[in-house]
Amino acid sequence: MNAITLTDLDISYGETQITHDINLSIAEGESFALVGESGSGKTTVLRAIAGLAPEWTGGISVLGQERSHGVDRQFARICQMVFQDPYGSLHPRKTVDASLGEPLAIHGIGDRANRIEAMLEAVGLDRRFRFRFPHQLSGGQRQRVAIARALMLEPKVLLLDEPTSALDVSVQAEILNLLKRLRREQNLTYLVVTHNLPVVSFLCDRLAVMRYGRIVEVADVAQLKSGQLANAYSRELYAASGGTLVQQIQD
């Protein structure tokens, strides 16, 4: 069964049509990247799958279930989202404990304290962070909390919207390692939206390049690594992102 299948997806926002004819199949356990620049519609696709962008036509199915246009309680247990801005994705007045406990409370899941502590450990946060407020955490720590929160309901599919774009390089490395490890440990499926090709190279198996609301190319990450992207725009992106100098230092 496919983790995510998008069929002829056209998403609109009011008068404007944002995406055109999106067709994608993402297998279970796969890590898939949606790559593009601003205005490409990649984030909108994510939001439509989550139910946050309700104006669409076509088909979205996640783990075999057809998606409704809005947010869905049952869907929350199989698919969650990690947002881009660590400074905006946590409720400023709730402690880490409260933010992590909220999904449990909504779905009536017990054993709260143990689950929270287990999750904090899984994302590499010490227990002393449990009752802090977001403004007492650094960007990287907040993003860890956001990831922990997304995993509290034990979803199988994770939607990630530029999860490391707002982070410093050194912190980004830690979060990328964490994401890779969690996926391996819990056999998760990732759909990652990003504009950063090296991150795709590290974290993903396949990618789709989007431009002006359309998919221009779907490729294997091996093609990305060897620079063998077919589409002209993809190659342009590749060249603009190329990190030549640092390649030499890699051991």
């Binding site: 989550a50 139910g51 946050l52 947010v71 869905d72 309680r73 049952q74 869907f75 929350a76 969650q80 989202m81 947002f83 881009q84 801005d85 905006g88 994705s89 946590l90 409720h91 400023p92 007045r93 402690t95 404990d97 409260a98 909220e102 999904p103 909504i106 779905h107 002393r128 962070f129 449990r130 009752f131 802090r132 407020f133 977001p134 403004h135 007492q136 956001a146 929160r149 309901l153």
Partner: protein, 301 residues
């Protein structure tokens, strides 16, 4: 004491209680750095103590008449003089603090939650819900407050309870507007999207996630409004539509002192001073709270 302080300021609280108390403590500390806010807080504190312990503080009865001693100037026995019926003005002001505090507290307790809820619901749902609720709010907002209060009191009859209801009815629309504006600023933020994605019902989101964020501006606005509420109540009392005699409501006292103002100035001015002092206290405190709870300084508090 030092260890309590350390416990409150601990960077890594071990319980929700500790985290919340710590946060409140930091707010209070920040507030205390502002001299005007401290003055305001002291004035309000004195008001509350005066109201609570009125029988112990007032040397005379507020309604006991002593016609032989009418219109005495401020002096040794009667610190603020006596009024036209020989009643000690100081005692009347002390007992009047109870009335003032009751009015202000009840109006806040009635109007603020109503306004908060209306505004948050309108802001969260948007669309026609927003338009209907704001339409109703606008109807109330468009009427001049004192006149509306007058109309209600005239319809319901004079008396302090009706005055409170009337003022509350005029006060809630402004709070609704504020709550709606606050809600709109974070309605589309990612932390609200996150909790929606967890399957929370709109009711839960509004009550547990949106309302807590509106409380800061609400507290500030209500505190600053207290001065206006006191004055409106005094205005109603002045016209005779608020508290009825012999209740020592400050506005009514000023009204009755009007006729003597040239020769026996203290009858009208003493209650006037009381009103000014208490209004100032609320303004200073409200300003201080605004500086400390300013949303732009973040989510620090």
């Amino acid at each position: 004491m030092a260890s309590t302080r350390a416990w409150l300021l601990d960077d890594s609280p071990t319980s929700l209680l500790q985290a919340n108390l710590g946060r409140s403590y930091r707010i209070v500390l920040a507030l205390m750095r502002n001299p005007l806010a401290v003055i305001g807080a002291i004035i309000i504190f004195v008001l509350i103590i005066t109201a609570l312990f009125a029988p112990l503080i007032a040397p005379f009865s507020p309604i006991g008449q002593d016609l032989a001693n009418r219109l005495q100037p401020p002096g040794g026995t009667h610190w603020m003089g006596t009024d036209e019926l020989g009643r000690d003005i100081f005692s009347r002001i002390v007992y009047g603090a109870r009335i003032t505090l009751t009015i202000v507290a009840l109006v806040a307790v009635i109007a603020a939650p109503v306004g908060l809820l209306v505004g948050a619901i309108a802001g969260y749902f948007g669309g026609w819900v927003d338009r209907v609720m704001m339409g109703i709010t606008d109807v109330f907002l468009s009427m001049p407050k004192l006149i509306l209060a007058l109309a209600f009191v005239a319809a319901l009859g004079p008396g302090i309870e009706n005055a409170i209801i009337a003022i509350a009815i005029t006060a809630w629309p402004a709070y609704a507007r504020i709550a709606r504006a606050e809600t709109l600023t974070f309605r589309h933020s990612e932390f609200i999207a996150a909790v929606q994605l967890q399957g929370a019902s709109p009711f839960r989101i509004i009550v547990r996630h949106i309302l807590p964020l509106c409380t800061s501006s609400m507290i500030i606005r209500v505190t600053l409004d207290m001065a206006g509420i006191i004055l409106t109540a005094a205005g109603l009392g002045f016209i005779g539509l608020g508290a009825q005699p012999p209740l020592p409501e400050w506005g009514a006292m000023i009204s009755r002192g009007r006729s003597f103002i040239l020769d026996q100035w203290w009858v009208a001015t003493m209650p006037g001073f009381a009103i000014i002092l208490v209004s100032l206290g609320f303004c200073f405190l409200g300003d201080g709270l605004r500086d400390v709870l300013d949303p732009k300084q973040g989510d620090k508090l």
